[in-house]
């Protein structure tokens, strides 16, 4: 097998590959990549370099991990998972990403494709109007600084209190949409200024809002799907992919600068400047964690306001209330975040960057309705293919600090994608295949073409076979909104 690395990579199982600590000076633990042979061979050299750099970080436990959707990132690879000891380990903004609590939300409906198809164009136009997208987009919620601090502290709960959601929504969001430990005093004025006008906006890049279909023939676990409100029968669902917008990006940028200086003080050296870190228990580490939680809560609030707008759009187009249309949240889960969790090694700060928490059944942290089936995991594919709903497993708790993949992973540069297809051409092609696209930027649309990504089904198959998540349903797009 030809790999994009000269490092020693050993097969553990058909879906697990290990790079021993002898592969690089300073590695404290082995690095493990979850992938089929085919996916491993397609991974860029950055994955191998970066996952082994992460294995050198102070306090890392067991393994530095990379999921099958892994590709080159800043410092950490995208798809990276690393658990550090809370007492002796570090926290690294590069292990979370610039878009703190970038994540996925899935909303069900009781509408069927046949109900929606005749009004799909009207629905997509209304969604495009109600959910701002693209460069620097601003939302309809006007906040004072004090109110924005409330958003940082309360997350999605703030939105529900303001009427932008239903009380039951909170049970269907990871951490009930509000992570403890947020402290707005640890957030810069710059971050506040960047984010205060952006609540309820999608952003651009690979962020999107999609109207999708859950068909009977693409449901893999009927019982679990039903427990999550997915009935199949060409049911319409809505998926949202976005994060904490400029607010989170600025928090990450601010603390990378802080950590660069802190590392010198704590005598920490790293293999890559973007792995800047500080001891988790240090003042800098704790300040970042408190600010990161502010950004994480704002991202939950962002997706909650977007949900409110989606419900309004459906209600306007179909002439029924969102309640009548059965528009409950299926789940909302982060894939760029660090959390303190307990494993056999003790309390660990688990970094997930382009990786999703996938707790198995029985975990006390899960809301009651998910304790039997495991944590729902939402994985977004490219806008042309499909996305998946999965659930966490006991095996994930044993092997991957309760973590799994998050999406499909790019294989082609943005510039190359733009050279291969024009935005207008792609829009037309997608429409011929029954997918209506509304995009702010035609160049941005071309960059997100399906051929620029790995095949998500292959990636999902890898985690399913590895046993760290089980697939529940595939969801196919019929309408897409892009920034």
């Amino acid at each position: 097998m030809k790999l994009n690395t000269t490092m020693e990579v050993n097969r553990v199982t058909d879906e697990i590959w290990e790079i021993p600590p002898s592969a690089k000076d300073g590695m404290l633990v082995p690095a493990r990549i979850y992938a089929t042979e085919q996916i491993l061979a397609s991974m860029d050299s950055g994955v191998f370099e970066q996952v082994t750099n992460v294995a050198c970080l102070p306090g890392i436990r067991r393994h530095a991990l990379c999921m099958p959707d892994g590709h080159w990132g800043y410092g950490f690879p995208i798809g990276g998972v690393a658990a550090m000891d809370v007492e002796n380990g570090v926290v690294s903004p590069g292990g979370i990403g610039f878009d703190i609590n970038c994540g996925m939300r899935l909303i069900r409906t009781s509408l069927l494709r046949q109900d929606v198809q005749p009004r799909l164009e009207q629905l997509m136009t209304e969604l495009f109007r109600k959910v701002p997208a693209g460069v620097g987009s601003r939302g309809f919620v006007r906040l004072s600084r004090h109110e924005f601090e409330d958003v940082m502290l309360k997350g999605a709960r703030w939105c529900v209190e303001r009427g932008y959601g239903w009380h039951d929504d909170l049970q269907r969001i990871e951490e009930r949409g509000c992570i403890a430990g947020a402290d707005p005093s640890k957030v810069s004025d710059h971050a506040v200024q960047r984010g205060i006008s952006q609540l309820g906006t999608l952003g651009s890049g690979n962020h999107y809002l999609e109207v999708q279909v859950a068909s009977n023939d693409r449901i893999f676990d009927r019982e679990t799907a039903a427990a999550l409100g997915i009935t199949g029968e060409d049911q319409i669902v809505v998926m949202v992919h976005c994060g904490s917008r400029g607010f989170g990006h600025q928090v990450a940028s601010d603390y990378l600068q802080v950590f660069e200086k802190a590392m010198r003080r704590y005598g920490i050296t790293v293999k890559d400047q973007q792995l800047a870190c500080a001891p988790f228990r240090s003042p800098e580490g704790q300040d970042y964690f408190a600010a990161m939680n502010c950004a994480a809560n704002s991202a939950f609030a962002n997706r909650q306001v977007i949900t409110h707008q989606i419900r309004e759009a459906f209600s306007a187009v179909f002439g029924q209330s969102a309640e009548e249309l059965g528009m409950e949240i299926v789940y909302d889960v982060a894939h760029n975040i660090a959390k303190v969790e307990r494993y056999k090694e003790g309390e660990l700060v688990v970094h997930r960057k382009g990786a999703t928490r996938a707790f198995g059944p029985g975990q006390g942290e899960l809301a009651e309705q998910f304790r039997k089936i495991g944590q729902p995991v939402i994985c977004g594919g490219s806008m042309e293919t499909g996305s998946y709903l999965l659930v966490g497993t006991h095996q994930a708790m044993e092997e991957t600090f309760g973590s799994t993949m998050h999406g499909s992973g790019r294989t082609m540069s943005r510039a190359q994608a733009k050279r291969s297809v024009r935005g207008e051409q792609l829009k037309k092609q997608m429409e011929q295949r029954g997918i209506i696209v509304k995009a702010v930027s035609m160049a941005g649309l071309a960059e997100e073409a399906g051929f620029a990504y790995k095949n998500i089904s292959d990636v999902v198959e890898a985690v399913d076979r590895a046993g760290i998540t089980k697939k529940v349903a595939e969801l196919r797009p019929i309408g897409n909104i892009k920034g």
Binding site: G73, H190, Q250, S253, Q273, T411, R414
Partner: protein
Amino acid sequence: MTKSFKILEEVALADTAFEAFGDSPTELFLAAGQAVIETMANPKTVQARWERVIERTDPELAGLLFDWLSEIVFLKDAEGVVFREAKAVVTEDRSHGGWTLRGTLTGEPIDPGRHDLHNDVKAVTKHLYEVRKEGNRWIARVVLDI
């Protein structure tokens, strides 16, 4: 005067990396600023109805450039604008042993109906970040998170 930049495709698969060039620090800052504003929107579609002057000093030219580009990204969100032009004058401040920037950004509030919008830059990163001088030419390598 030669001010220019080129996109480095092999460096950033999911993001945008570029190398900017100039015969002087000022030209380097002009080229790098242009690369950042063009990543966000086509400047030809943007009018100069908004202006902001930015003055900074830094002991290191690399630090000053990083601040300049980060400020452009910040103002895009904080002011809700895209940019027509990023003018810059960079001088070496020999008395204090550092560098001084006087930059002027022009642009206008974002209007998706009129502006040819591209990507929403999240951050200027330190990944592979470098400012160097080769002969009489200044070169900067920058990776933007998209």
